[in-house]
């Protein structure tokens, strides 16, 4: 496939991510921090986010399935997830975390479990879309092209 077509696919994919509110302007901030001296910055930060999030989601699952649920502990995990998702511009994930924190504060187990499902769903969706984006970027660079600037 020609570089131009790959670049167009990239633009379409990322525009959709913003339009469908998977990403917000904080992601643009990250893109602006990437340059020739830090060409993999976005991938590196997002990879850290994936690792961190998966750990937090596992901890949350475990915390919410204890015989006696520690809602403060759950809230602390959600707070961390909310923070890191906000930092990379993962808007949908962050928004679920806001509702999730409310459920934790109310000690609402059913609500928490529903939020956990929802946040896992949003996270998985986002992860697959970002991985597709990064794969496209690798193809573009391998074909000798450069990423369009937003």
């Amino acid at each position: 496939m020609a570089v131009f077509q790959l670049q167009q696919q990239w633009v379409d994919l990322i525009s959709a991510l913003f339009r469908e509110e998977f990403l917000d302007s904080q992601f643009t901030q990250l893109q602006q921090l990437q340059d020739e001296s830090n060409p993999d910055f976005v991938v590196e930060v997002v990879t850290l986010f994936f690792e961190d999030s998966e750990r937090l989601l596992n901890d949350l699952c475990s915390t919410l399935h204890q015989r006696v649920v520690d809602f403060k502990k759950a809230d602390a995990h959600v707070h961390q997830l909310k923070g890191s998702s906000a930092s990379i511009g993962a808007q949908r994930v962050k928004n679920v975390c806001v509702s999730f924190r409310n459920c934790c504060e109310e000690g609402n187990l059913e609500g928490c479990l529903a939020c956990l499902q929802q946040v896992k769903h949003e996270y998985t969706l986002l992860k697959s879309k970002l991985e597709a984006l990064f794969a496209l970027e690798q193809q573009i660079v391998a074909a000798g092209g450069s990423l369009p600037t937003m």
Binding site: L33, D35, S37, V45, L48, D52, G83, S84, A86, S87
Partner: protein
């Protein structure tokens, strides 16, 4: 690079570090970043290093490690808080396990360092009580997360205005420079003869 270092040493400035920070450049303010989130640490560090020469960045993931760096270990007397690593500014997250940024702020302000170290607190929560509590305990400013480039600009302007190091002349010159975002490794030339 060698010339810059030699010049800096002549003016009594401490340069030379093992970290990958580009040599501590023209202003070279040493900033200690404290945050338990690996994502945030990476982003803040990049924001700070975006303009080469502004900051020499040290990051730690806990208040306790920050205390170690500042020489504020448990068991040492307060008189021994010497700040051997010559930290110029502290930028700390508020919410951290075990030791919060607020605890760290109080610990820093309670000790008589040879030179006052300004502490900036960052948080994702826009809580007025939290903000005023931090200010009341000596925080220079409170920055809302997620951090953006203009927050770093604020930090830099403050640091240039109030940090007391021998190269005051260079700093004034820096304030007038247009902001260049090209991220190139080209060093900004220092003015000949500009000495405090």
């Amino acid at each position: 690079m060698k010339d810059v270092k030699a010049e800096a040493r002549d003016e009594g400035e401490e340069v030379g570090c093992d970290c990958d920070c580009g040599g501590g450049g023209d202003v070279g303010l040493r900033i200690l970043v404290v945050d338990d989130s690996p994502v945030d640490r990476k982003i803040v560090e990049r924001l700070l290093k975006k303009r080469e020469g502004d900051f020499e960045v040290i990051t730690v993931d806990s208040g306790k490690k920050a205390m170690d760096i500042l020489g504020l270990n448990e068991g040492e007397t307060t008189q021994n808080a010497t700040n051997d690593q010559k930290i110029d500014i502290i930028l700390t997250d508020y919410c951290m396990p075990e030791m919060t940024g607020y605890d760290l702020l109080k610990a820093v302000k309670e000790h008589n360092f040879p030179k006052n170290i300004p502490v900036f607190v960052m948080s994702s929560e826009n809580d007025p009580q939290r903000i005023s509590r931090c200010r009341a305990n000596g925080a220079e400013d409170f920055i809302l997360k997620p951090l953006r480039a203009n927050d770093i600009q604020r930090l830099r302007s403050y640091a240039i205005k109030t940090a007391s190091t021998p190269i005051a002349g260079s700093k004034r010159k820096l304030q007038l420079d247009p902001v260049t975002e090209n991220g190139s490794s080209e060093r900004r030339p220092r003015l000949a003869g500009v000495v405090a």
